[in-house]
Amino acid sequence: MIIIEEKLVVSSSPHMRSVESIQSVMTDVLIALFPAALMAVLLFGYRALITMVISIITAMLIEAVWRRKRDLFSDGSAAVTGLLLALTLPAAVPWWLVVVGSASAIIIGKQVFGGIGYNIFNPALVGRAILVVSWGGHMAGDIWPSPQPFAFGIDVSTVTGATALAAPEIAMTFSFSELFIGNIPGSLGETSALALLIGGIWLVYKGHIDYRIPGGFIATVFVLGAAFGGGFYGNQLMTGLFHVVAGGVVIAAIYMATDFVTTPVTPLGRLIFGIGCGLITMLIRLWGTLPEGVTFAILIMNAATPIIDNFTIPRQFGGVNKSA
C-alpha cells in the first residue's frame, strides 16, 4: 500500500503562481534603463539629470493624486513612463515642457483610459507626441546639443545642430563607433545603442520582453535601410546598420514597442507588430517630411494591436479547425 507523504492540495485555479508582480517587473525595467540614463548624464551633463528627475517626479505625483493614493512609487509604472519620456527629450528642453509632457503622458496617455492595463497607446510616446505637435521649435530641428562627455557643468544649450538622421552629409560627420557608443547629438537616452542593448539583454534574460518585437523591428529597419537608404557610409549594409543605431530605433524597439499593455500577446502578432513598426519608421524616415518616425510608428501600430491579436489567435492544442 502506497502512503502519500505529502498531502495533495485540491483547489481551484490558478495553480501556477509567480513571485513576479507589476512592481517587480517595473523595477526590473527601471534597472534595465539605468545604463541608458547613466550614459545620458555622462554625455549631456547635469541638465539631463534634472530633466529625468522632473519627469519622473511629475509622473509619479500626477498618478498618486489621480488615484488618491499616498504611495508615490506604487506599482512603478508611472516612474517608468516618466523616465522613458525624459529619455526621448532633447537635452536642452525647458523645465515646464518636461512637466507638461509628463503630466499629459499620465493623464491623456493612461489615466483617462482607466489606468494601467487599459491604455491603448504607450503613455510615454503619447506625451512625446503631444510635445512634438505643441512645441515643435523645442523638439525638432537644429536644437540638438552636441554631447560633452564627462563635462557635467557645461551648459548644453550653447552648441546645437541637427541629428544624424537629418541628412546623409550630417550623418557622415559621425564615425560608426561614435554612433554606437552614443557620442552624437540626439535625445537623452536614444544616442547610446550600447547602453540600451545592455539593458535589453537583461530584460530578455529576465523574460520580461519577447525578442520577436525588437528583433522584427530592428531587422525591418536594417533591411529597408540597406535597400533604400541611399548607400552612404561605404556600402549598402553599413547604411542599414546606420539606420538601426542612429535615432531612436534601439530604445523604441527594446523599451517602447515591448510595452506589455499596448502590444499584441500572440507570438506571431508580436512579430507582425515589430515588422510594422520598422516599416512605418522607415517610410517616415526615407519618404516623409520628418527626419525621425519612431514615435508615430509605434503609436500607429498600438492602434492596430487589437486587430493583430484578433487575426493571430493560435490554434488550441488538440482543437480542430472550425468548418466554415
Binding site: V100, V112, I130, V133, S134, W135, G136
Partner: protein, 209 residues
C-alpha cells in the same frame, strides 16, 4: 403641470439635460472644426441658433401639410432656405467671420442638431413650444461651442478674442509659449474629450439625469 412650467422645461432641456454637444454628441463637425478661436465658435453657434429657431417655427407651422413619406426632404428644403439667408447676411455684414467659418456655414444644412430637432420635436409639437425648444437647444449649442473654443484658444494661442490682432488680448504676456496642439484638429478631439469627461463627472456629482 402648468403652462409656464412646460415652456421652462423646453428651454432648459436643450441647455443642460439634452445639451446637443455634451450630452447628445450631435453636430460634432462644426464643434471640432471652427472652435480654434472664441469668436469663431460663438459666431458659428449664433448662426446655427438662428437657423434652428427659424426652421423649428416654420416646420412646426407646416407640420400638418408635410406628407410623412417625404418629410426629411421637406425639412432640408426649409433648413437650406434659412442657411442661405444666414450665409448672405454673414457675407454682407460680417465678412471676416464669414471667411473664418468657411465651408462650415453651408454645412449647417446637414447639421444633425437642427434636423434632429425638426424630426423629434418641431414636427410633433405646437408652434410656440417649438420656438422655445429651438432657443433652448441653440443656447446649449452656442454655450458648448463657446466653452470648447475658450479652452482651445487660451491653451492653444494664449489669447482671447483673436485671431484679429487688434482685438486679441494676450493673457500670459510675451514669454508664454502656447500649446500648439490645441490649435490643431487633433487638439480639438482631445479638448472635447476632456470637457466631456468633466461634464460627465459634474452631472454625476449633482445627480442630473
Amino acid at each position: 403641470m402648468n403652462e409656464s412650467n412646460v415652456y421652462l422645461q423646453d428651454l432648459s432641456r436643450g441647455i443642460i439635460k439634452e445639451n446637443p454637444v455634451f450630452r447628445l454628441l450631435l453636430g460634432m463637425c462644426p464643434v471640432l472644426g471652427v472652435t480654434a478661436f472664441l469668436i469663431n465658435g460663438l459666431g458659428m453657434g449664433i448662426a446655427a441658433t438662428a437657423v434652428l429657431v427659424a426652421s423649428n417655427v416654420v416646420i412646426s407651422a407646416l407640420k400638418n401639410f408635410i406628407p410623412n413619406q417625404v418629410r426629411i426632404p421637406c425639412f432640408i428644403v426649409v433648413i437650406a432656405t434659412f442657411v442661405t439667408i444666414i450665409e448672405m447676411v454673414l457675407q454682407a455684414f460680417q465678412p471676416v467671420l464669414y471667411e473664418a467659418l468657411g465651408v462650415f456655414v453651408p454645412l449647417i444644412v446637414v447639421n444633425c442638431v437642427i434636423l434632429g430637432r425638426a424630426e423629434a420635436f418641431a414636427s410633433r409639437k405646437p408652434l410656440f413650444r417649438s420656438l422655445i425648444d429651438g432657443i433652448g437647444v441653440g443656447i446649449g449649442f452656442t454655450l458648448a461651442l463657446g466653452l470648447l473654443a475658450l479652452v482651445r484658444e487660451v491653451a492653444g494661442q494664449g489669447t482671447i478674442m483673436g485671431p484679429d490682432p487688434d482685438s486679441a488680448i494676450h493673457l500670459f504676456g510675451a514669454g508664454f509659449e502656447p500649446m500648439g496642439l490645441f490649435g490643431q484638429p487633433a487638439g480639438a478631439f482631445i479638448a472635447l474629450g476632456l470637457l466631456l469627461g468633466i461634464v460627465n463627472v459634474l452631472f454625476k456629482r449633482f445627480k442630473i439625469q
